[in-house]
Structure formats: structure tokens, C-alpha cells
């Protein structure tokens, strides 16, 4: 009988079959991500369709500046302007959470009152959007004033400024797309949960690797006519396939069921692929360092949750503050979020996320090399 050892295929087939027998594991892979996307998504700005921040505006005046400001706010892609009668309505709306922010525009534009809560992420986002709109109107006023001071009539000044605005219009569109903060609803929770669950479930399947080591499966596999690197590759690929399957499932189901638009397929595939490598490296590392298979579910997923928190996968990262977000960027989730949210913006592609891809690839390489070296060392013969 001619033997043609197929260690990689043997290990991948056996490991994947083992995972399909793990009902709890399957539940966490197939059901939980969508429960999380749905509920967190609904809590955080409704669905994909109504991802605009509601802003209550009291604008009794009918002067040009008020009109310009209202027009600017209405044009903002992230804001939904709700005209209100009294400043008190604005305050109670913001307090109750039905409004992300409120703005009282005094006639003549001498004074603007902004009503937001400091602790609320969408409030901060709305504030950013309103600041942007106000700045644009202010810039127009400033420009007009400058032209008048230079000797033009107000009519001529208005004409010049309009022309200047039209010329910078293209730039303005690009600016409004990136300046509006993170998207809301499913557009945010789908990528967040993709990263969260790909990582957590990779950590959970590390238990199977610990179990293999404990049972002596790897030892025994090495007595077959196979090379050590094939056994390592087989174990690594088994985990990578789980990570990729989890990510692919979330991309496809969220696109079909929640209408999430992920952006450039090539870019998304690259980010997801590199992140899956990171998760695989982390899973191999955990699977190598732990001694008992019970430790993996006890340590892996909590670690995944904490990294997810820091990376903005559990709640909007705009509510986390700069320090936390900076710490988050020591870990892969934050970079994954940066990349996936960038790709979700129209007109972006692979080239827009090259820095994030580079960082993630570096993390993946570091984790994979470390874990494979340790894994190889820790699989010697028992004496």
C-alpha cells in the first residue's frame, strides 16, 4: 500500500467536525453575533436607514444668517433637523434622549445656544456636526465681511462668496463624508460584532487545541510519517477557517438581513482576512499556553470582550474618550474598526486602509510566529 500522508487535510477535517459537534460553540457563532448586532444596533440609533442624529432647533428669526445655518444643518448627512417652538422643548428632548442635541438660534445670529449632554456619544457626535455647520456659515459671513471691507457692495460680496463656495464645493462634499463621525445603527454594530465575535470565537476554539494537546493527539500525530510543520500548519489552518467562516457569515447575513453596506469587497476581504490571522495567532497562543481545556473558555472570551471594549466593538467608541481610544489602538480591534468603518464610506477602497492593514498584518505576524514557536517547543515527547 502506497502511503501519501495528508496531515493538514486530516487535522482540518477532524477539527472542523469537532467544532460542528459543539452545540454551545455553534450557538455563539451562528446566533449570538446577530442578536448582538440587532439589539445593540437598535439601541444605538435604530437601523441602517435612520442613522441620522436627531437635533432639535429653535429658530424664531428669519434673517439670512439663520436661514443659512438651518440650510447647512439640514444638508448635513448625519443630522436630522427637528424644528421646535421653545428652548424648553429642546432641553427636555435632550434630557429624555429623544434628541441627540439641541440648538437655539437667536434672531440676528448674535447668539447660539447648544444643548447637549456631555456623557452621551451621539451628543458629542451631534455637537461635532453642528460645530461644522456653524463654522461653515461663520466662514461665509467672515468672507463676505472681508470682501465688503475690501470695497465691494454687499451684492457683489455675496456673488464672490457664492462663486468661491461653488469652487470649493467638491472639497466640501468629501469633507462632510469624513467629518460626520462614525456611522450609527447596524452600520456600526455589524463591523463591531464581526471583530468581536471573530476574535471571541477564535479564543473559544482554542479550547479544542488545549484538549488535543492534553489528549496527546499532537504527540501521536507526530509518530505518523509526517513533518512537524505540517501538523502545526494543520492546527493553525483549522483555527483560521473558523475565524474566516465566522467573519464571512456576519458579512453576508448583515448585508442581506440588515442592509449593511460593507464597501469595497477587496478591501473588506483584506481587512477581514488579516484580522482572522490575528485571531488565529491569538488562539494558537492561548491554546499553547493554557494547560487545561476548561481554562480556554474562561480566559479567551473575557479577553476578547475587553479588547472589544477598548476597540469600540461593544459601544460607540466616540463615547469612550481619547485616552481609552488611544489605549485601544494598542490592540487589533481598534485598527480593524478604523479600517472597516473607512471602507463603509462611499468611494473608499483598499488603498484607504493600507495603514490599518499594515498594523494588523504586523500584529498577526508577531502573534503567529510567537505562538508557532511556543507551540512547537511545547509539543515534545513525554518521558
Amino acid at each position: 500500500m502506497t502511503l501519501r500522508p495528508r496531515p493538514v487535510a486530516a487535522l482540518v477535517a477532524a477539527n472542523l467536525r469537532r467544532h460542528t459537534r459543539d452545540r454551545t460553540g455553534l450557538f455563539f457563532m451562528v446566533v449570538m453575533p446577530f442578536v448582538s448586532i440587532l439589539f445593540v444596533g437598535m439601541a444605538f440609533g435604530g437601523g441602517a436607514g435612520s442613522s441620522r442624529l436627531p437635533v432639535g432647533v429653535v429658530a424664531p428669526g428669519s434673517d439670512a444668517v439663520t436661514a443659512a445655518l438651518l440650510a447647512e444643518l439640514r444638508e448635513h448627512p448625519d443630522l436630522e433637523v427637528r424644528p421646535l417652538e421653545a428652548a424648553e422643548d429642546v432641553r427636555s428632548g435632550v434630557r429624555a434622549g429623544s434628541l441627540a442635541a439641541g440648538l437655539v438660534i437667536s434672531p440676528g445670529a448674535g447668539r447660539l445656544d447648544l444643548v447637549v449632554t456631555q456623557t452621551n456619544g451621539s451628543g458629542l457626535a451631534a455637537r461635532g456636526a453642528i460645530d461644522g455647520a456653524v463654522a461653515k456659515v461663520a466662514a461665509v459671513l467672515e468672507a463676505t465681511r472681508a470682501v465688503v471691507a475690501a470695497g465691494a457692495t454687499p451684492e457683489q460680496a455675496a456673488g464672490y462668496v457664492r462663486r468661491a463656495q461653488a469652487e470649493s464645493g467638491r472639497v466640501g462634499v468629501t469633507g462632510s463624508a469624513t467629518g460626520g463621525g462614525d456611522p450609527r445603527g447596524f452600520a456600526y454594530t455589524a463591523p463591531a460584532n464581526l471583530l468581536l465575535f471573530t476574535f471571541i470565537n477564535s479564543m473559544a476554539v482554542a479550547a479544542a487545541l488545549v484538549e488535543s494537546r492534553r489528549l496527546g493527539m499532537l504527540q501521536r500525530a507526530l509518530t505518523a510519517p509526517v513533518r512537524r510543520r505540517s501538523v502545526l500548519l494543520g492546527e493553525a489552518l483549522s483555527r483560521l477557517f473558523v475565524a474566516l467562516a465566522q467573519a464571512a457569515l456576519i458579512v453576508v447575513v448583515s448585508a442581506l438581513a440588515f442592509g449593511v453596506s460593507w464597501g469595497d469587497p477587496l478591501g473588506v476581504a483584506a481587512v477581514v482576512g488579516v484580522f482572522a490571522l490575528v485571531a488565529t495567532g491569538a488562539a494558537l497562543l492561548v491554546g499553547t499556553l493554557l494547560r487545561s481545556p476548561d481554562q480556554a473558555p474562561a480566559i479567551g472570551p473575557p479577553l476578547g470582550v475587553v479588547l472589544g471594549m477598548l476597540g469600540g466593538c461593544l459601544w460607540p467608541r466616540e463615547s469612550s474618550g481619547e485616552v481609552l481610544n488611544a489605549i485601544g489602538h494598542l490592540f487589533p480591534h481598534a485598527w480593524g474598526m478604523d479600517a472597516l468603518l473607512t471602507l463603509a464610506e462611499p468611494g473608499t477602497g483598499l488603498d484607504a486602509v493600507l495603514p490599518q492593514l499594515g498594523v494588523l498584518a504586523g500584529m498577526a505576524a508577531l502573534l503567529l510566529v510567537t505562538s508557532l514557536v511556543l507551540f512547537s517547543r511545547r509539543t515534545p515527547a513525554r518521558t
Binding site: 500500500m1 477532524a14 509518530t223 518521558t383
Partner: protein, 312 residues
């Protein structure tokens, strides 16, 4: 004839601790070789070096004439190794576990299912093959553990304590199966704590202690190494005292003691071969009505050589 498995000068040390020193033996096809030793004697270290899990500091291992160090893949493909622990996936069925090992060893795709069925028949688990391994009894798991090493028709089967925690019925099935395989020409290296298993299955036995082989031979050779004489008990009818004097005079009899009204106990080298002379010697004085030869056993030999019992 090329030995199915031979090793010579095998040595392994861990710092100051010598785990194995100058171990060597040779197993012919169709021969069953037992490795006996107390815990920590170096059995598992020796086996790990034979199956390529551990690189020896000194010595060579040849599998069917192939040098394990030079051509590990070719040499390993001729070995079937059954580890002491149940190294199988509990989430998978018996058949799926065998499929894993079939792929690992590289059985041709088309032959795989047939060969798995053959092995399942051989180990008597065809009817339970499609239930999860986790639901099997200890004995059934042990049988799959052995079956996994047989799929690729190895020339030599190496078993490390294959019957630990096995019910008597499974033990019987396992031992019978092994005897059949040896009968078909497979070479066998067997370690066990159970002396009677080694005595039953193995043609030759090596006793290993403190990393060295202290004795090696057939069971009889080992037992005679101790210089142990057989004990022969005779029941006589007639003049027992006179018969006893005659028996003392037979060559090879070291001692003859009257132990009852009609019974005599003799200590004799090769007692069972002396029986005809003993019966002839008492003629005219008494008649031998019953005999029993009690040989010194391997357990006694083991105790003598290693100063310890096997099951410590």
C-alpha cells in the same frame, strides 16, 4: 532476515539524570517482545525514541532496516504506535477517529473506507463505529486506540500499556487480537504492568530497570537466570519415608521434605523434566498418585532483578 525493529546503544540523559543507557534489542517479524520494568525505569523514554518522538543522545533505531534518524518518514510509516493514553477525539465517532488516522498516515482515498471497516471488524467494534467515542467504555476506547495504529498495516506494532483500565472481556479480546496479528507475521513490542499478559503474549522479554536492560531472554531463560529451582509436590501411596530417601538421591533434586502423611515436597532444577525419573525412583516403595510442579514465575524473577514489584 531483517529485523522488523532493532535498536542498539540507545541512550538519553536529562542533565545529570540518565533516563536510558545502552538499550538494545531486536524483534523479528512475527515475534512478540515484552518490555517489563517498574515505573520510571525508562520504558516510555525508550519507546518515545523508537517511534521518533524523542531524539536519542546515542544509538540507532532501525525499522525494517530503515534508519529512523536518517529517513524518519519512511521508518515511521512502518510503525504502528499505540500510546499509553487514549489519544483519540472524544467528540468524533470511532469511525471518524479511524478516518483521521487513515488520512494522517496517507491511506489511499479509495481504500480508506474498506480498510476502516476491516479494522473495525478486527477489533470487534463494527456495530458501535458510528457512535461518539465519548460514550464508549474504557475497553472500547482502548480497542479503537489500537485500531488506529493498525490501519496502515505496520510491520511493527508498539504498544505502551494497552490494557490499563480495561474490563476482562475487552482485555481478552485485545490479547486474542494481538496474538492473531503476531501469528500473521507482525512484530510486536509490548509493555505492560500485567505480568500474566506479557507472559501470555510475548516470546521474549527484556527487563529494564534504572534505564538499563538487566535481563533479556525467553521466559524460561529469565526464570532460570535467577537460578530458581522448581518446586515439585508429590502425593505417594506406600512407604513414604523410604520413597523420600530414594527421591533425595535423584540427580538434580536439591531437597526432599515430607510435608504430610502421604506428601513430599522437592526442590529441583528443571523439576518438570525430572518427573519421569522421580516416578521411576520410588518404584518398589511407593506409587505416585498425584504431582504438581510449581515453577518460579516471572514476577519472582522481576522482584529478584529489580528489587521491586511491577505494580508499585
Amino acid at each position: 532476515m531483517t529485523a522488523a525493529l532493532s535498536c542498539g546503544g540507545l541512550g538519553k540523559r536529562y542533565g545529570d539524570l540518565v533516563a536510558v543507557h545502552d538499550v538494545g534489542f531486536s524483534i523479528a517479524p512475527g515475534q512478540a517482545y515484552g518490555l517489563l520494568g517498574p515505573n520510571g525505569a525508562g520504558k516510555t523514554t525508550t519507546i518515545s525514541m523508537l517511534v521518533g518522538l524523542l531524539r536519542p543522545d546515542t544509538g540507532t533505531v532501525l525499522v525494517g532496516g530503515v534508519d529512523l534518524a536518517r529517513e524518519p518518514l519512511r521508518a515511521k510509516s512502518r510503525i504502528g504506535y499505540v500510546p499509553q493514553e487514549i489519544a483519540l477525539y472524544p467528540e468524533l465517532t470511532g469511525r471518524e477517529n479511524l478516518r483521521f488516522f487513515g488520512r494522517l498516515f496517507g491511506l489511499p482515498r479509495r481504500a480508506l473506507a474498506t480498510r476502516i471497516a476491516e479494522v473495525l471488524d478486527l477489533i470487534g467494534l463494527a456495530d458501535r463505529a458510528d457512535t461518539k467515542l465519548g460514550t464508549y467504555s474504557g475497553g472500547m476506547k482502548r480497542r479503537i486506540n489500537i485500531g488506529a495504529a493498525l490501519l496502515h498495516r505496520p510491520e511493527v506494532l508498539i504498544l505502551d500499556e494497552p490494557t490499563v483500565g480495561v474490563d476482562p472481556q475487552s482485555r481478552k479480546a485485545i490479547l486474542e487480537g494481538l496474538e492473531r496479528l503476531v501469528g500473521d507475521g507482525m512484530a510486536l513490542l509490548y509493555t505492560s504492568h500485567y505480568m500474566e499478559e506479557v507472559e501470555r503474549v510475548c516470546d521474549r522479554v527484556a527487563i529494564i530497570d534504572h534505564g538499563r536492560i538487566v535481563a533479556d531472554g525467553t521466559r524460561r531463560e529469565l526464570v532460570s537466570l535467577v537460578g530458581g529451582a522448581d518446586t515439585v509436590e508429590l502425593v505417594l501411596d506406600g512407604d513414604v519415608e523410604a520413597a523420600c530417601a530414594k527421591l533425595r538421591a535423584v540427580e538434580g533434586v536439591a531437597e526432599a521434605v515430607r510435608t504430610g502423611a502421604a506428601s513430599v515436597r522437592l526442590m529441583a532444577d528443571g523439576g518438570r523434566y525430572l518427573l519421569p525419573s522421580l516416578i521411576t525412583a520410588v518404584e518398589g516403595h511407593a506409587t505416585v498418585t498425584a504431582t504438581q510442579v510449581i515453577e518460579p514465575d516471572l514476577e519472582a524473577t522481576f522482584l529478584h532483578l529489580t528489587g521491586t514489584t511491577l505494580r508499585d
